[in-house]
Structure formats: C-alpha cells, structure tokens
C-alpha cells in the first residue's frame, strides 16, 4: 500500500473487527492449554528455531512492528543492531514497566495472554543469540507478576522455555525482575541500571544497549505489546502483519487506550492507523460523558502535546501525529471535556514529571520544579502577567537538553497547553482564581 495516511474508509460498526489480542482477554489468564489450542501457542517459536537468526530478524523487519512503548522504533531493526559475535553474554529484556499516565494495555496483555509475551521474548532471544531474559515489571503489578511466573513454570515444564527448548539445543531462561516505583525505569537505560541493582538513572548514550546494555552485554529491550505481536509475525508472515497497518512502515494492530471523560473508556485494538482520534472518541467510546463538548485530547500518554477539539481528525498512528506536532507515544488517549480546568490538568501533569525526575540533569531537575511552582501559582490565582512567558522559557530550556526524554515529556505538554489554550491561563491570572471553581 503506497498511500500515506489514507483515511479509513470502512463504515463504523459497533463491534470490533478481528483482533490479535483482545479477543482472547477474559476474566482469567489464559493457561498454556488454551494458548496451545486456540492461539497456535509456541508454534511460532518452533518455526523460528527452524530458521536462521537472520531469517527471523528479516521477517520481523518486514512486519514493520514499531515499538509500542512510545518511541516507535522498529523492532526488527533493533534486533539487527546486536552484534553476531560477542565476548559478553547477550540479554533479551521485556519492558513491562508501564507507567506513562494514560497507558494501561501491557497490564492486560500480561494478565490475560502471558504466554504471548513469553513466546515473543523467546523468538527475539533466539534471533539475537541471548540465553538469558528478564521481564522488568513495575512493582505495583503484583498480580501480573504472579501470572507471568506461573506461565513461565508452565512453559518450562512443557519444554518451551529453559534448557534445550523443543529439543533444538537452544536455551532460554526468563526471570521476572520487579521494579519498585519509579517512572523513569521505563527508560531503557534507567531500566538496565535498576536491573543491575542501582538507582534508576538513565545512562549516557552511546554506548547504546545493543552494544553495551545489561551487565555490559549486548541487550535488546522491547515493550510488552511489541513482543506480543511477534508470534503472529512468525506464524502468518511479516508481509501479512505489515498489511494490517494502514500506513506504510507501521504494521500490525494497535491497542488504543482511551481514558478520561468518555462514556466507554477502555482498550480498543484496531488495525494500526485505521482510525482517527475523533472516531475513537465518538464511535468506539460513544462520545463525551454527559454529552458535553470536547475540550482537549492528550493523544499518546501524558507526555504527548495536547490536541484541541478541532485537531482530532488526525489518523491515530505514529507519522500522522508527528506531522501535526504531537505524538502517538503509547497510544494512551486522555480525553477532557469542556468544563475541566486545563490549568489544573497541566499542573498535575507537570507535578508528576517533577516528582519522577531522577535529578541527574540540571535542566530536568530544576526545570520541572520551576515549571511546577509557576503552574501551581497560576492555578492558585497568584499568577503574574509575565508567568506565561516565563514558563515557556523554562520549557524551552528543558527541551532536549538532558540525557533522557523525561524533561521533554514535561516541556511538550507545557508548550502545547500554554500555546493552544492561552486564554484559559490568562483568565486564571486576570481573575485571580479558577473560572471553573
């Protein structure tokens, strides 16, 4: 398909089309028996083990799986960056630290279809030549940790993980490593430090994890949803998977997460790029609570620059979002209705990033705190006329000036909220209080 950003043509039906993941979600985790019978369980791994590692990587490259954690980096390319020969052991890591506000898909993938994630990891490990894998899971996901642990034991017992997998001589062992409450550990080099028993502070890059990652060895870190897609790529082919996506170079389905002021919040798995933000809100989520008007949408986790109500005809995929100055990120859409105070909302967002800044880089540590103070002041009715200029300046001084993207994650919302909804901020400053209060 050569057309870029072709708007979806099929009429809306109030039932979701065939999905890779969500059709298998139910009250309980799907056990191995279900996975084998209904999801061609571990047949993709078996197929991969009969191929060369390059063939596996090429199939994943063809599939155009772009990272579902937020950065959108193609998984196949990431795998291909791992050196073939390495004196140090290689590691394959699943990033299950889901903590970007508005993001809640990985939790369901792990608790309902844990074996998909394990199989995806095993295929990736074979492709890069790793024998040790870790699932770095956020500490709060206690139940999901138990489910994954049980699934690993099931898979080991049946010979799908562990030593000499399916008699092929390939060994791959997965250990679950629990985080302990730190948003920044979703950043892959912070994750690696945390895994190694250190403070979760991002590292200086280069070297990139592909060259020197966990314990100094070449390392791949992939998001849960990214990995859950991998078995489908091997089973049905990279071309098939790529064609699920409506936009060139963005294959597969995508779990859109909608929260906030919609009537039907939740997860919606659709072909990547087959839907606009408007369709997600009004067709899938049945519109705004109490039939109020839409005020704003944060389209990709709380770090994504905000969209006004007149910008929601954008196709929900990576490139179209970038084109209008925002980002799809983790596809976590936060919907805000007309009567909610956006100053309060931005202040809450920035408070989060200020709290989660690891403190290593001055622009981030100081910038997020200063921005928080200014926003709290404006929200509390004590803002000055010059505060809007000041906060934009602070945001500019934070943006792209640190080791990782945390400061940018605060700067993007600040710049977009203040620019697009300037009147709301000015009303607070002029009136000395929140007009919504």
């Amino acid at each position: 398909m050569s057309e870029q950003e072709r708007p979806p043509e099929q009429p809306f039906e109030d039932s979701q089309p065939e999905t890779l993941f969500i059709q298998h979600f139910c009250e309980e985790a799907r056990p191995l028996s279900y996975y084998l019978k209904n999801m061609s369980g571990y047949s993709a791994l078996k197929k991969a083990l009969g191929m060369s590692s390059d063939e596996v990587i090429n199939e994943v490259k063809k599939a155009h799986i772009r990272g579902r954690g937020g950065a959108g980096f193609p998984a196949g390319v990431k795998w291909s960056l791992i050196p073939k020969e390495s004196a140090k052991a290689k590691y394959f890591i699943c990033n299950a630290d889901e903590s970007e506000p508005g993001t809640f898909k990985d939790r369901d993938l792990m608790r309902y279809t844990p074996h998909l994630v394990l199989e995806g990891m095993a295929i990736g490990a074979y492709a890069i030549g790793a024998h040790t894998g870790y699932i770095y899971i956020r500490g709060e996901y206690v139940r999901e940790t138990g489910i994954l642990q049980a699934a690993i034991l099931e898979a080991e017992k049946a010979g799908y993980l562990g030593k000499n997998i399916m008699g092929t001589g390939f060994d791959f062992e997965i250990t679950i490593h629990r985080g302990a409450g730190a948003y920044i550990c979703g950043e892959e080099t912070a994750l690696l430090n945390s895994l190694e028993g250190r403070r979760g502070e991002p590292r200086v890059k280069p070297p990139y994890p592909a060259i020197a990652g966990a314990f100094g060895g070449p390392t791949v870190v992939n998001n849960v949803e990214t990995l859950a897609g991998v078995p489908f790529v091997l089973n049905r082919g990279g071309d098939w998977y790529a064609k699920l996506g409506r936009i060139t170079n963005s294959g597969g389905t995508r779990i859109y997460e909608v929260s906030g002021h919609v009537k039907k919040p939740g997860l919606y798995e659709l072909d990547s790029g087959s839907v606009t933000v408007r369709q997600l809100i009004y067709d899938y989520c049945h519109g705004i609570l109490d039939d109020k008007k839409l005020k704003a949408v944060i389209p990709g986790g709380s770090s994504a620059p905000v969209l006004r109500a007149d910008e929601i005809d954008v196709v929900a995929d990576i490139d179209p979002m970038l084109k209008i100055g925002s980002m799809l990120g983790s596809a976590g859409m936060i919907v805000v209705s007309e009567d909610y105070c956006l100053v309060r909302l931005l202040a809450r967002i920035v408070r989060f990033y200020a709290h989660e800044s690891c403190g290593q880089c001055t622009p981030c540590r100081e910038g997020t705190k200063w921005a928080q103070d200014i926003l709290d002041r404006i929200e509390g009715g004590r803002g000055h006329q010059q505060d809007l200029g000041l906060i934009l300046q602070v945001a500019d001084n934070m943006n792209a000036k640190s080791l990782c993207a945390l400061a940018d994650a605060a700067a993007g919302p600040i710049i977009s909220f203040v620019t697009k909804f300037r009147a709301d901020f000015e009303a607070h400053i002029r009136g000395g209080k929140c007009p919504h209060a």
Binding site: A89, E98, S99, E100, P101, G102, T103, F104, D106, R107, T132, R138, G139, E140, Y141, V142, R143, E173, T175, H177, R178, G179, A180, G181, A182, Y183, S194, L195, E196, G197, R198, R199, G200, E201, F215, E257, V258, S259, G260, H261, P265, G266, L267, I298, S302, G332, I334, V336, Y340, L345, R348, I349, F352, H355, E356, C358
Partner: protein
Amino acid sequence: MADKILSDKFYSTMKKLEPRYPSKLALLLPALHAAQDEFGWLSSGVMDEVAEYIGIHPAQVREVATFYSMYNFKPVGKYHIKVCTNVSCSLRGAERLLEHCEKKLGIKVAETTPDKKFTVDEEECLGACGTAPAMMINDDYHENLDVQKLDRILGELE
C-alpha cells in the same frame, strides 16, 4: 555481626534467585522486596543485613532503596491505601476519594492511624486509567471507584 533479623525463608528465596543473575548486586531490588515482605517496611537493621548479604556498604543500600517509592522507611499500617491521583484518575474524581479517605480515617496523606491499621498515600499512575479512579490496598487493585464503593471496601477490612 548482630543476630540475623531476616528469616531463613528470605535466605532460601535469595539462594534460588542467585543463579538467575550474573552479579550479586542485581539481587538488591529483589532482596529489598523480600525483606519488606517480611516486615512491611525497611528498618535500618534490615537494610544493614541486606548490605551484608549483597556484600556492599550499607550506605549503598540506602542510596539505591531511597530512589524507589515502593520501599517504606517507616512502619506502615496493616492496610496501606494508595490512591492514584494522576491525570486519568483525577479526571474521574480521584481527589474526592482521597479526601474521603483522609476524613474517614482521620489522617492526612503519608500518615498512619494510631491503631496502626491504615496508612494513606497518594500514588502516581497505577496503569488502570481505563477503570479510573483506582487505588491499591496492599497488593490489590480496586478500580471503577466511587465514594460508596470505597466505603464498602474500607468497611470490609478487618
């Protein structure tokens, strides 16, 4: 070295994990989790013993442990209530729930009731935005909350 505070179960859990990691330091977070599971919080003595087990200076244990929000450095109540007040939960009324908790239990955020039964904390995003507002009590999630449901849940706690 003083008498051991951590149980045999702690040491046998760690023993099983050791071959899973290429370095002993990597066992630090798992060890702190296991230690906190035993006492509900990490006392100075416990952290010193973890340092001895890992083979690092006690200051290094504190340096790492204090980076993370889930480790408690003072005792918490039997029920540790963590109410998410991040964006999606906020949009769905999380602050009302938090205020209700504070009022009902007669404590402020980060405090524990005198009978040591409840601790209330404000929590960052729990990853339950589609079922907001949400909270955790100890290891369990409670979602789609409103004041009535919160009252019912709190009422059922012994």
